[in-house]
Amino acid sequence: MTLTIRYFAWMREHTGTDLETVDLPDGVARVGDLVPHLATISDGHALALQNLQVVRVAVNRAYGDLDTPVAAGDEVAFFPPVTGG
C-alpha cells in the first residue's frame, strides 16, 4: 500500500522532508499503525514522531487522529499544534 506523507513546521525540519511516498505492508489500517514504520526511515523521523501527544494528524486534508483509517493513495499529514493568526 502506497501513501503520501507530509510534515510541517518542526516535524518537517526533523524529518528533512515536507513530502514523501512510502510503501507499507498490508497490516497498516490506521494512522497509528503508520508511525512505527515511518520512525525507521531516519533518526530525524524517529525524533519527529517520538512524542505523539504533541502531534496533530490530517488524512486527505481533514483532521483525524491515530485511529483514523488509511487506505492506498491517502495523504497523511503530521504537524504540531497550529499557531497562526
Partner: protein, 148 residues
C-alpha cells in the same frame, strides 16, 4: 465570502469597503500584526508556513460555522504567509451584518477558531535564533468558550 492565503500585504480599507452594502449596519474587523523588538518579545521577524489545500478548506469551514450561528451578510478572511517584519499585518478577519453584536461575535469566533484549527505555523526570529512558536493554552480556552 472571501478566503485568501497570500504573501502580499492587504488593504484593510479596501476590504472593509468591499463589505459595505445597503443591508449592512456594521462591519467588525480584526487585524493581527507582528509584535517586535520594542515589545517584550524581542522578535526581529516572523516566518509563517501553512498547509496549502487544507488551510483554505479549514477557513471555509470556520466561516460556514460562523454563518450558521449569526445572521451575516458577508465575511472576509485573509492570512499572510512567508517572512514578515515587526509591525506588519498577518491576518484580517471581517464580518458584516445588519446587527453590531452579530458582526463582533462572528469576527471574534472566526479568530478564535482560526487560531486553533487553521493549519498555520509561526517561527519567530530573534537575530540569528529561529524558534517555532508553541501553541498556547489560552487559545484553546478562547475556542472552548464558544461551546458553553
Amino acid at each position: 465570502m472571501t478566503v485568501r492565503v497570500q504573501s502580499e500585504d492587504f488593504d484593510v480599507g479596501a476590504e472593509s469597503r468591499a463589505l459595505q452594502a445597503e443591508t449592512v449596519g456594521g462591519i467588525a474587523l480584526f487585524v493581527g500584526t507582528v509584535r517586535g523588538l520594542s515589545s517584550d518579545d524581542g522578535v526581529t521577524a516572523m516566518v509563517l508556513e501553512h498547509f496549502p489545500g487544507m488551510t483554505e478548506g479549514e477557513l471555509e469551514r470556520i466561516e460556514a460555522e460562523a454563518r450558521a450561528r449569526w445572521p451575516l451578510e458577508d465575511v472576509t478572511i485573509i492570512h499572510r504567509v512567508g517572512r514578515l517584519l515587526p509591525g506588519e499585518q498577518i491576518v484580517l478577519v471581517a464580518a458584516a451584518s445588519a446587527h453590531r453584536r452579530a458582526a463582533f461575535d462572528a469576527a471574534q469566533f472566526i479568530m478564535d477558531f482560526l487560531k486553533t484549527d487553521a493549519p498555520f505555523w509561526k517561527a519567530e526570529e530573534r537575530g540569528d535564533d529561529r524558534r517555532w512558536v508553541e501553541a498556547r493554552d489560552s487559545d484553546s480556552t478562547a475556542r472552548g468558550r464558544w461551546s458553553e
